[in-house]
Amino acid sequence: MMNPAMLLLVAAFAAPLVVSLLGAIRHSWVPRGAILMTGLAFAAAVWTCIQDDASVNVPWAPTWSMNFSLTLDGLAKMYALLATGIGFFVVLYASKYLALHLHHDHRLLEEQTRFFGFLLLFMASMVGLVMAQDLILIFVFWDLTAIASYFLIGFDRAEEESRSSAQMALLVTGITAIFVLLGALALFQIYGTFALPEIIIASNGGRNTGIAVGLIVLGALAKSAQVPMHFWLPRAMAAPTPVSAYLHSAAMVAAGVFLIGRVYPLVAQYDWMLDALLVIGFASMAVGGIIALTRRVLKQILAYSTISQYGYVVAMFGLGGEKGVAGATFYVLAHALVKSALFMTAGAVTEATGKKNLPDVGGLMRRMPLLAAGSGMAAAGLIALPLTIGFFKDELFFAAAYERGMTLAVMSVVGASLTLAYILRFWRQTFMGVLRTEPEPISGYLVWPVVVLGIASVVGGLWTVPAIWIVDRAASVSADAPIHLHIAYHLDARHENVMAIATWVAGLLIYLTRRIWWPAALGVAHLGSYFGPARLYYAGMRGLNQLSDSVHRIEVRDLRSRVATILMPAGLLVGLAVIVTPNSTSSFAVGALGRDDIPLITMLVASVVSAFVVIVVRDHFRLAISLSSVGFSLAGVYAFMGAPDVTLVALVVETVLSMFMIGMLVLMPRPILRFETEVRAERRYLRRDAIVAVVAAGMAFFVAWGALSRPSPSTEVIDSQTVLTAAVHGKDIVTVILADFRGFDTLGEVTVIALTLLGVISLLRTGRLR
């Protein structure tokens, strides 16, 4: 029997691979293949869930104590169930939705492969993430979810909005993912391991550990779209609806709170961190709730709702204790069920009516009774009506908040009543009232997943055993202690019940009096978008853009100034070094000059003179000739230095180079070359160029002189190579060095030559690269 953890990972990652392969064969099989594969993954998750905990531990980079370690514990089981289960319904929904979506946009059905491939990759990386126990492995899967979400959010790539939203989501979650990595590295510094269970056992509650864990939590909060890093989530609505449904319930955003749950034993050691979570949680609740009330776009309402709902979860983690942790875990489960159903409702409504905004729809109850019922159950779950699973999520929240005093209790009631108000607005105005747009009939695939998830939410409220079973095991991992959840209906006046009733009353009141506070809420939303963190993001992006522009302007547009900016400082630095170094004069040697050196000196003078001729001539052909005469004189220099091999190569290469150069000049028409020849450079530039050249010459002079004055005293290498040359059947030491002793260098160099040939030929073949 295969290890359950491995089985689940394989089942999950097989899905994107199989679907991509199917897409390559025949794209019309892709939706069905995706349903099948997610169904299998879901089945695997359910099967592994009822098995015992299992782990896989394969050494990955043992010298850095990195292991490919997966553990299928309670927490992993719950999130894996969510990722594959919700994923299954989302894929089911998408199998029809996407075809419609592509059809509306006049796009090819082949793009389905890309969509389902990334969606399933998203699911697989979630499954990997929740099982990973090694911090680096967590980071890898973490980033994989970000990448998958980037492609999914930007799926409608023709639209500017999708692209910028995808970029924003990637940047916000990607940059904050660096914090996760930093935290992991810091923990490695402290504990010498990346294995999370070991770190949790060894943790000492020190300040450095706190900072490291804080960094990880920061990354998690950004992923969960908590204030102030929440702004990317509403814009991610540019994605097709199934993606939103998945992203908001069981993937991406859930990944954030999952990570908090995973490192919670570490988090719980620091009161300041818990307090910070509490503040951030309540702030997100308030911001998300208030803005959700003011939105008109269906999906936007739900998006802000997600921010506020995960605010609950974060706040409960902040409240801590057995109730807090159990409540947070339970909340994720309940929320995932209902939120995915609500998103799919929004998508179905939009597909049926063609309207995206709340004011344009209404009265759909009679036309789409099934959808209304399904989403009604889900909405009831979200606003915590009794007999739904959602009721208990609020009960647990209230209980945990009440333990911490009256203020928090009141704040939680206010937050929950905001939820009730905007969900009431969402559902009631979609399905009740006057019929605004006549809906077209839509496929059952767009309705039934909603109904099933809605029924699940009700069943979960009536028969609580499975949910308790799952949550108990998951919360025990987060709390690092056994937790037993007690939820049941109590018909008495305990404070949870009182708070729940207060919530309903307050929520109804908010909804009914919306005309009064509407401008104020809108004002808050405006304030947020004008002074909020999104502003900072745009400013940052603009700044980066300008920076890159200006660097480009300085560096790239004018090659000459770049050359100058390299040469001048280099020359000045070398000059400074020569001046500053004490006794610098003694380190320069003039060197002996004998009668034998006269031919060598002559050739050197010849090469220098030809080099200056190259500067002076105006005509390009003369330039080429004088350039080659520099090369030939240098070949002479080499000859007198006792290097016949080099001389031979220099001579023949210089010949071919001259042919190349003249051939190129022939290719370019005379007018262009003549233009260059005749236009005189401005005086200003002449002077600048001369100064730069002189400074550069100074640099080259001092570097060369300084280096040549201090040769290595040991000629051991030469001697050993001389001896070895005879041993390897050679006589010409230079050739033996090239082909044998330093053969690998030569190999690299000839590879460069071969590749350069490719470049030359393709560049000369006009019309190809334009």
Partner: protein, 178 residues
């Protein structure tokens, strides 16, 4: 590459070029094979062989380069050479040796072939020779081909109306395709 004026130079240059072709290759191969014992190696041998072939193009015009097989397949030869060099480098790994372990080893007996010793560094040098040869001939041949094309276009009168404008850059330059 520009062919010289055929009328003036044809006789001497062409017969000279023909005469030189074979010796140039003999010299090149000799330099390469004797590289281990005397001046020269694959680099210089490659360029010398290339010069011999290119001289044909200079004397007879670019068409002649098209005719000579050795020049037509020069780029391919260059990559054959690269493969040869890579093989000499990496095959020893298959036998559990280090990269660039040559055969015969240090102070071992080499197989003699006349005055030549058979040793694997020569194979590597042949690779280098082919690469360099392919580069020189392939590159210059590409230039020559391009020039012939330009001349043909110019003859058809389509050639570069825009060049006289000189400075007009990105605006309509897209229109004039060479």
């Amino acid at each position: 590459m520009p062919a010289l004026n055929p009328q003036k130079h044809a006789g001497m240059l062409q017969s000279g070029a023909r005469i030189i072709l074979l010796p140039s290759w003999v010299i090149a191969i000799a330099i390469m094979l004797k590289g281990y014992a005397d001046v020269g190696d694959g680099f210089s041998a490659g360029v010398i062989a290339a010069l011999g072939v290119l001289l044909q193009g200079l004397a007879f015009g670019t068409d002649e380069l098209e005719q000579i097989t050795l020049s037509r397949i020069a780029p391919i030869l260059s990559f054959v050479g690269l493969g040869l060099a890579l093989l000499t480098a990496f095959v020893p790994i298959l036998f559990g040796e280090n990269l660039f372990t040559h055969w015969p080893g240090i102070n071992e007996h080499a197989v003699h072939f006349g005055v030549l010793e058979f040793i694997t560094p020569v194979v590597f040098d042949i690779g280098v020779f082919l690469i360099v040869y392919g580069f020189c001939v392939g590159g210059l041949h590409a230039i020559a081909r391009e020039e012939v094309r330009q001349v043909r276009l110019r003859d058809r009168g389509r050639y570069l109306r825009s060049t006289t404008r000189g400075g007009s850059l990105a605006d309509e330059s897209g229109e004039v395709r060479l």
